[in-house]
């Protein structure tokens, strides 16, 4: 669904690779649909995967707003994700050592506020300096946050983690009881393999709605921001900060805005994660999340919002799709095979789609401004004019 959004407009306006991506996506979607209808893919599991993809999409939106827009190298994605997850969990969980029992909306707000403060704290000393400062400081920050969460038991419950977390809609009218209230459904598409939709399905459906709302709003905000003059300054900073400074842009302020925006989105992913999995522990702050967020952004195409969205989906497909490898009997130890396969897929994508799956559009100007002046260029060179010398007669 979201793919169509990114590639809307008539087919003819798409470049060849875009059409290719669209084709593959459509085929993939069809495949999933067929699997769902025939019962080969459990609907509840599917929704879980969609939720997960949404979560990764949020993470890569956040990182994209920092790295893709402005070139800020943030290695503490896991920390901001964790702050979101813990912020929300500490407010809402029964087992929270400090507060607990609040409405999840309170958790959401608290998580965002904490992420905001943290982003500010790390941004103030580092964003004035050279680009790699943020990289290293954030590497350190991630470790510090993880260790604090792990060791300060009075605050976070330490290694035991937090449980007893309510669903996000608890306390809301209608929605809080929606999954239980829904009848169990039994759909028979293919005789003999009925599809059962039970409470857990409805619960997952709610979760998916939630993440789609989060991701949808984020996407719309980022899309507008990206092609605005604001986004243009960020891209100028990414490529040549001195130039932006010479042109009178307060680059420090812009970098801070981009960093905070990205961090808030990451925290949002954490909030969702908390209410999806209903359990958070210090292990959730493992740097591997940062890893995967980066992979998602690059595979999707740095600087491109639809790429980031796509990257989220790709990551989940790679990580969870490889589980089906188990179904194929192989003569060697299957344990590390999945790791191997993930590695191979990453290398293969970089080999065959080096600029990412959906790189940013070549030109990003406020839409209504270019309406008269021709349509934005698409990313492939195939559509460019053939002769460099141009037509200046």
């Amino acid at each position: 669904m979201s793919l169509l959004d990114g590639a809307r407009g008539s087919l003819t306006e798409l470049s060849r690779p875009e059409r290719w991506v669209l084709g593959v996506s459509a085929a993939f979607a069809l495949f999933l649909l067929a699997a769902l209808l025939t019962g080969a893919l459990g609907p509840t599991y599917f929704l879980f995967l969609v939720g997960l993809a949404g979560m990764y999409a949020l993470l890569s939106f956040g990182l994209n707003a920092q790295w893709g827009f402005t070139g800020l190298i943030n290695f503490s994605v896991a920390a901001f994700f964790g702050i979101g997850a813990y912020g929300s969990a500490l407010m809402t969980a029964d087992s929270s050592p400090i507060a607990g029992g609040f409405n999840p909306l309170v958790g959401l707000v608290v998580a965002l506020v904490v992420a905001f403060v943290l982003a500010l704290l790390i941004g103030i000393p580092t964003l004035r300096l050279r680009a790699d400062y943020l990289a290293i400081a954030s590497l350190g920050l991630a470790e510090v946050v993880r260790l604090i969460v792990l060791n300060e038991r009075w605050l976070t419950n330490g290694s035991a983690g937090l449980r007893g977390i309510p669903s996000f809609f608890q306390g809301w009218p209608v929605l809080s009881t929606f999954p239980e209230a829904m009848p169990g459904l039994r759909l028979v598409v293919i005789p003999g393999s009925p599809i059962l939709l039970e409470t857990s399905f409805w619960q997952s459906l709610l979760n998916v709605m939630l993440v789609l709302t989060f991701a949808g709003v984020t996407y719309l905000v980022l899309r507008r921001a990206h092609r605005s003059p604001w986004g243009r300054v960020l891209r100028t900073i990414r490529s040549d900060e001195d130039l932006a400074r010479a042109l009178g842009k307060n680059t420090y302020s812009f970098k801070m805005q981009s960093f905070i925006l990205g961090s808030l989105i990451m925290a949002l992913a954490g909030v969702f994660y908390t209410h999806l999995n209903l359990y958070v522990g210090p292990g959730d702050l493992d740097p591997i999340t940062t890893f995967y967020a980066w992979v998602a952004v690059i595979l999707g195409g740095s600087g491109s919002n639809r790429g980031a969205l796509f990257g989220g989906i790709v990551i989940v497909t790679i990580r969870e799709g490889t589980r089906f490898l188990n179904d194929v009997a192989l003569p060697i130890d299957p344990a590390p095979l999945r790791l191997l396969l993930i590695g191979v897929v990453i290398v293969a994508v970089m080999r065959y789609r080096p600029q990412g799956i959906l790189p940013p559009q070549r030109e990003l100007i406020w839409p209504s401004a270019v309406d008269g002046g021709g349509t934005p260029e698409t990313p492939d060179s195939g559509v460019r004019e053939q002769k460099g010398g141009g037509s200046n007669e």
């Binding site: 035991a160 449980r163 409470t199």
Partner: protein
Amino acid sequence: LSTTDDGGDGSDGSDGGDGSDGGDGGDGSDGSDGGDGTDGDDGSDGGDTGPYQIGMVDSLTGSLSAFGERNQRGVDLALQRVNEVEIDGRELDLIVEDSESENQGGIAAAQKLVNQDGVPFLIGAVGSGVSLAIYESVVQDTDVVQLSQNSTGLNLTDFPGLLRMSPSGRSQSLALSNIISDDGYDEVAITYVNNDYGQSLTDAFVNAWEGDIAYNNPHDQEQQSYSGVISEMDSSGADAWLFITYQAEFATMVNEVYSSGYEAQFYGADSVSGDNVIENTPEGSMEGMKIVVPSAPVEEENYQSFADAFESEYDQQPTSWAAYAYDCVINAALAIQAADEFTGSALRDTVRRVSGPDGEEVTSFEAASQILADGGGPDDVDYQGVSGPIDFDENGDPVGFLQVLEVQDHAYEGIDFVEG
């Protein structure tokens, strides 16, 4: 495309309790003691002749992958045992998914097993944190039976619906506390691995310990050096050092203690023992160390045959992790055979009873399966596992035996048994 309402709660009102079907509003644990009636929906696959599929979440990669590997050996052996005999003529198929030793990975793995593969029985996971995460987010409101193979964290006790094969660490901690004070020490230095396992065992130990604690600090897993920790332990002045950690970390520490020339009496919880520790530490470096491990009485016949089979297969002594995983699979197979149908609620009912104290004590799957095949009910068998007698208490914890090992001539010798 037809849509039918299955009538929801109405149909299974018979058992009087709620929470049996689909986990409405549920505290799933209720289901365990009530004899749930049949569940009309899932009946359709009762007549199949294909294998019974159950699932397992294991640490195949990530920081606990060494444990996963040990589990895997026990699992393979157990599957051989089961499938030699078969369950009512059907094979047992175990789908193993990787948790990557992480909550996120574990939850995703369990999601796939439960909601995609539709397994009614889930073995998992290794780390206590991951087991709980899976329980909370996937299993809790469903019928699925979760049996953790390795989690010894104390707080699993608070979740009666979450069974485990390895006994709670509390009994180990109590035993250790007694052993250390019996040995005449009134001061101890502790270091523990900084996770749920290490933390909760240490907490239990500290509660039980009456003497002084000269040093008590965690260490991170998978560090390249622990010389900071051991030098601090040394300067704490305590002569009894307690290690609550994993083999790799412990082996590093032992080597560092040895090459730093420190001397102390070592004690350890289960996870520090293993052939690989013996192999990778110098002679004499752990002499006299005492370790408490949950185990079946090793002289018993079932353990012996398990150990023999294991040795002939893998050319090494089995570890307790292999034994746990072995027992998980056997227990699951028996529960399946004893249950009327292959559903979570039915298994939830039988899983405790086939190995529970009622019934005839048997020590192999074959023997137990025979009783069931001869018309015996779940209460007529009492499977005695290779890791212990496997009697789950009301909290889902097994009543385990603990064995006290001592390192003598750089090998483990059992010197004592303690009732859990």
